[in-house]
Amino acid sequence: MTTRYTETHEWVRLENGDTATIGITAHAAEELGDVVFVEAKDVGTHLKDGEAVAVVESVKAASDIYTPLAATVESFNSALTDDPALINGDPEGKGWILTVKLDDPEAFNTLLSAEDYKKL
């Protein structure tokens, strides 16, 4: 399993075949502050690359989360409904937001590597 990153501070982990998990990076979680609400597009929704796939709300503001690749929403992390602060506590683990089915799994390799993301 490889994790790649976006310039808009999402992480994307290719699970197996064409399924990928999306969340926000520790840096993004830190910038947002205390998360109080998360919601994603309905399961089955198809999105083009760069489209908003979820919204993460902190006490301060609402922030869109984008899918960097064209994909269909497969599942939402329902643990976030009761405990949205998981995103602050474990942004790249238990605070994952959703899984999607990628239109083109090959395109995954066009995303930023961990090393490239750190350079941003």
Binding site: G33, D34, V36, F37, E39, E57, V59, K60, A61
Partner: protein, 377 residues
């Protein structure tokens, strides 16, 4: 208009405390400290939070002859509030109105021995000072104390700290205001704030501000609090933010601030009218208004923020208003909001719908504050 951001006298202290600094009303201000907005909010509700509000404008409205009484009489020509009957040492919430009855600014004004002490919003301080100066030119001059710092210590433990430093504060009630000293430094101390909690505000010279702030932070119950928690605290307390909940097109009646207009200045009172927009406001007091500011409690967990439109029906055919401020209330444990709705809907417990990202979220018109006030009256 791309002027460099200004710093308050506490800028270095904020940075040394690890604050995240953001631009606000022309200043670089702390939005939060490492504690985080949620905990800062709770800390203020349970202990004591220290806020730097030095970006706000402190003014002295000083009469050309006489004292506080003369300044009060002159100032009554600009606001629908009673300052003549306000005793010396007392503070009052006030609204500068325009000719249409709209609100130019909201401010706190204290009657002092020789003048009136006013605290105005940061974004309006230059225009407020110029306006008051021009309007009252014959009777008063306006002393801009914009270089002075303003600290707020808010929360149930604030009184213990303040009384330890200012023993006379033990006798102060909510909205008392005194000119006093701390180790020889001139401090304007009032028992007031913007959080719905008991607390105090201290106006003091810039060069003493950091030392006093550090002294306050040395008390174990005191933590520094940023603008993020300041906003969630005032929202739960049902307090207006100028520019969001109030502006030049909202009148005091529409803004549900009629409580701030004393009987003596209303129709039939001994000094009725005599301020800008008085005819409009008198008529609205008589016959009502088409829209009113109300508290809104959204169902579920999603915050409903400023600008969200409100409808009477789930289909969204009848638009009845708009949210002016909204977010997450950490003490309430869920979203809270306020907004303007048409008068038929400005009735407690009226169910409405907020249009959020293409779906309709049920909201209910509720009484404010959302959290009981902790004032010591």
């Amino acid at each position: 208009m791309n002027e460099p951001l200004k710093h308050t006298p506490l800028y270095d202290l904020h940075v040394s405390l690890g604050a995240k600094m953001v631009p606000f009303a022309g200043y670089e201000m702390p939005v939060q400290y490492p504690m985080g907005v949620m905990e800062e909010h709770q800390h203020t509700r349970h202990k004591a939070g220290l806020f730097d509000v030095s970006h706000m404008g402190q003014l002295r409205i000083r009469p050309r002859s006489g004292g506080g009484a003369e300044a009060a009489a002159a100032f009554e020509t600009l606001v629908p509030m009673d300052f003549i009957a306000l005793p010396e040492g007392r503070q009052r919430y006030a609204l500068l109105t325009n000719e249409q009855g709209g609100i130019r600014d909201d401010l706190m004004v204290a009657r002092q021995a020789g003048d009136l002490f006013a605290v105005v919003n940061a974004a309006n301080k230059d225009s407020d000072a110029a306006y008051i100066e021009k309007q009252l030119a014959e009777d008063c001059h306006v002393i801009r104390q914009f270089d002075r710092a303003l600290l707020a210590l808010q929360g149930p433990k604030a009184v213990d700290v303040i009384v330890d430093l200012f023993p006379q504060a033990a006798a102060m009630r909510f909205m008392d205001c005194v000119d006093t000293t701390l180790d020889g430094v001139a401090v304007t101390l009032s028992r007031s704030g913007y959080t719905g909690e008991d607390g105090f505000e201290l106006g003091l010279p810039a060069d003493q501000a950091a030392a006093v702030a550090r002294k306050l932070l040395d008390y174990p119950d005191v933590a520094p609090i940023g603008l993020g928690a300041r906003d969630s605290l005032r929202l739960e307390a049902g307090l207006c933010l100028y520019g969001q909940d109030l502006n030049t097109t909202t009148t005091p009646v529409e803004a549900s601030l009629v409580w701030s207009i004393q009987k003596s200045r209303r129709p039939g009172g001994e000094r009725a009218g005599g301020y800008p927009g008085a005819e409009t406001i008198a008529q609205q007091l008589e016959t009502g208004v088409y829209r009113k500011r109300v508290g809104l409690l959204p169902e579920g967990r999603a915050p409903i923020r400023a600008g969200v439109e409100l409808f009477s029906d789930e289909a969204g055919t009848e638009k009845v208003g708009r949210v002016s401020s909204g977010g997450f209330g950490p003490t309430v444990g869920g979203p809270v909001a306020m907004g303007y709705v048409s008068k038929e809907k400005a009735v407690l417990d009226t169910p409405l719908f907020a249009s959020l990202r293409g779906r309709m979220v049920p909201v209910v018109v509720r009484r404010m504050p959302f959290v009981p006030a902790g004032f010591k009256r």
